[in-house]
């Protein structure tokens, strides 16, 4: 199949995923009364004095979780032991603007229909929820937190560029931090903006290879190892939290466990001389499907077998990088209200540290540029597993961080435009070299 055919299939699958997500979103705010009347509109606000009245106790709405266990209602609230309640009433007001006639509605929260939400445990929540657009609109009032998120992102990219620069130096490819940073951003631009099969990693590799024509394999190897170390550390960060509460993070545990299992298997497979000899890996690789890719991976791993110190520092820099990534997403989440208010129980930070890496690992599957679609699905799925029943919120968080990444990648776009000739020439040379089988 030609390049155009592959691209068409990739885009089609990506667009299908995006369509499925869009189909499941409520773009407008929504409130349903117990008598079945449904209102859709904008500006839904639940009054500050909203509360949950459970067996005579009035509990703050935002700090109280009502769950259903069979027929019984269980109530948990800040500063109070969990108790079983026979009567639970949500009290307060719901204000919103009705889309149908522009009327400002003032509804009694006690009259709003309750629905079961989430899966483990089943939460009981009023059907008065902000939609996707209103959720994104909250960013307008959270300028400080949004700026903090961008600062975290800058930290992540700086640490990532430093890590790659270190891995390049370890292979004798003298590339300083500024150039590594520039190429990281150009790569980001290709990942997020340029529709096509040429990913940012490929661009980074060929740009380095252009400057070191005899070291193409090493250049490619640095990018591969850089990416793999990043993903492994991401998974390790998640597993630290997940291991502390396996029951709560069961879905994330399965995904991270499978990923780390594959990573350990890969490391043993590629790094152990004994294993390599025993299974005759060198000959085997040539016979396997996708032999080219496997050989590149094999070469990349072999390059760093004797560079343990550099690899260790790269691991540490990855931790900084992911603290930046997760911190940015946490800040965006706080800005749009994806925290305890959205249903996350217990430590919100722990839930992010367990959930975000897994969602990021899954969303690294490239369909559409920037991982659009797969990322949103992953955020929706994994945040639901920690109690966020409103898909609009988790998808809005994914869209927000992706849009922010897109914005940051424009810096790479500017660098790309100013060196467009060089990049295109390097890509073309790399393509010719591939066609000739030159390595």
């Amino acid at each position: 199949m030609g390049e155009k055919g592959k691209l068409a299939i990739k885009l089609a699958v990506g667009l299908l995923v995006v369509s499925v997500i869009a189909w499941n979103l409520d773009f407008l705010d929504r409130c349903v009364l117990a008598d079945g009347r449904e209102y859709r509109g904008t500006g839904l606000v639940i009054s500050d004095d909203a509360s949950v009245v459970a067996d005579g106790r009035r509990l703050p709405f935002g700090d109280t979780v009502v769950t259903r266990d069979g027929g019984a209602l269980s109530v948990k609230s800040k500063g109070l032991d969990a108790f079983t309640a026979t009567s639970v009433v949500f009290s307060g007001r719901v204000a919103m603007v009705d889309r149908a006639d522009g009327r400002r509605l003032d509804l009694d929260l006690a009259n709003v229909r309750l629905r079961d939400a989430g899966t483990r445990p089943v939460r009981v929540v009023p059907e008065a929820e902000t939609g996707f657009l209103s959720t994104l609109g909250r960013l307008k009032n959270a300028g400080g937190v949004t700026l903090l998120a961008f600062a975290f992102m800058a930290l992540a990219y700086a640490a990532s560029a430093l890590r790659w620069s270190l891995l390049l130096k370890a292979q004798g490819l003298g590339v300083g931090f500024p150039q590594a940073l520039r190429l990281t951003f150009i790569g980001l631009f290709f990942n997020n903006v340029m529709p096509g099969l040429t990913g940012g990693d490929v661009v980074k590799a060929v740009m380095i290879a252009k400057e070191h024509p005899n070291e193409r394999a090493r250049a490619v190897g640095t990018v591969i190892v850089d990416r793999i170390i990043g993903l492994i550390v991401l998974a390790l960060i998640a597993i630290v939290v997940i291991a502390g509460d396996l029951d709560r993070y069961r879905d994330a545990a399965l995904t991270v466990g499978a990923f780390l299992g594959a990573a350990v298997f890969g490391c043993v497979f590629f790094l152990s001389k004994r294993v390599r000899r025993a299974i005759g890996l060198d000959k085997l690789l040539k016979k396997l499907p996708m032999a080219g890719i496997l050989e590149k991976l094999d070469e990349a791993f072999r390059m760093y077998r004797s560079q343990r110190g550099h690899v260790a520092v790269a691991f540490l820099l990855s931790v900084v990088c992911h603290v930046g990534n997760i911190g940015a997403i946490y800040a965006f989440g706080a800005a749009i209200g994806l925290d305890a208010r959205a249903g996350i129980e217990g430590s919100v930070i722990a839930a992010y540290v367990a959930t975000v890496p897994v969602a990021l690992i899954v969303s690294s599957v490239p369909l559409l540029p920037g991982g659009w679609g797969v990322g949103e699905m992953a955020f929706a799925y994994f945040f639901r597993s920690v109690g966020v029943w409103n898909v609009d919120l988790s998808v809005a968080l994914s869209v927000t961080q992706r849009a922010a990444t897109l914005l940051m990648s424009l810096l790479g776009g500017w660098w790309f435009l100013t060196h467009r000739g060089d990049v295109n020439r390097a890509l073309s040379e790399a393509s010719d070299a591939d066609a000739r089988g030159v390595r």
Partner: protein
């Protein structure tokens, strides 16, 4: 110590925001002269510098309730320790009253607060001015807006007026009893 004038004024709501805890507020608002204990009701919201409790103020806490039964005690003799003891006596009397009216509920006085089934029923503070000792004791009637889990007289089915009248009468009787107790003893033997 003198027996206080008791006054229950629940006819119209008077908000409590903190500055009410000052000398002569009862005189200016309710026309009561001298030592007094007065009950009224109204919304409560105390934030920032209006919080007398420094721990609450430093923690950025606030007090809020849609409707509260406010009890303000003023005694024209500044004595903070005695004021704190009387504040706890008032809390104990309030807890006794709730216990009598709601025997199935778990009622607990902890320090100067009363809890019912774990929900906070009351807020309280004692302080002194240059001329008097002051106590504010608030009991949730309708706790909407409270930042913590609360109990409220409305949900407990307790009539705020009857509760206020009984509590104030018992408090005044206790003070009367204390005064009486001080009048019937001889000095301890120097031994």
């Amino acid at each position: 110590m003198r027996k206080p004038t008791v006054h229950v004024a629940l006819d119209r709501p008077v908000p409590y925001t903190g500055p009410e805890l000052r000398p002569h507020f009862l005189r200016h608002t309710f026309g009561i002269h001298g030592d007094a204990v007065v009950a009224w009701h109204g919304p409560c919201e105390v934030r920032g510098d209006a919080l007398v409790d420094l721990e609450d103020r430093d923690a950025g806490d606030f007090i809020k309730s849609a409707d509260m039964l406010h009890i303000l005690v003023e005694q024209f003799e500044p004595n903070l320790s005695r004021s704190v003891v009387l504040q706890r006596l008032l809390a104990s009397l309030a807890a006794d009253l709730v216990r009598e009216r709601c025997p199935s509920r778990d009622v607990l006085r902890r320090g100067d607060d009363v809890y019912v089934d774990g929900g906070k029923l009351s807020v309280s503070i004692a302080t002194v001015s240059p001329v008097s000792s002051l106590i504010h004791f608030g009991v949730n009637i309708d706790g909407r807006g409270a930042p913590v889990a609360v109990s409220e007289l409305k949900a407990l089915g307790v009539d705020p007026r009857e509760f206020a009248e009984t509590l104030l009468a018992r408090f005044a009787a206790e003070i009367d009893g204390i005064i009486d107790a001080t009048c019937k003893v001889v000095p301890a033997h120097p031994g």
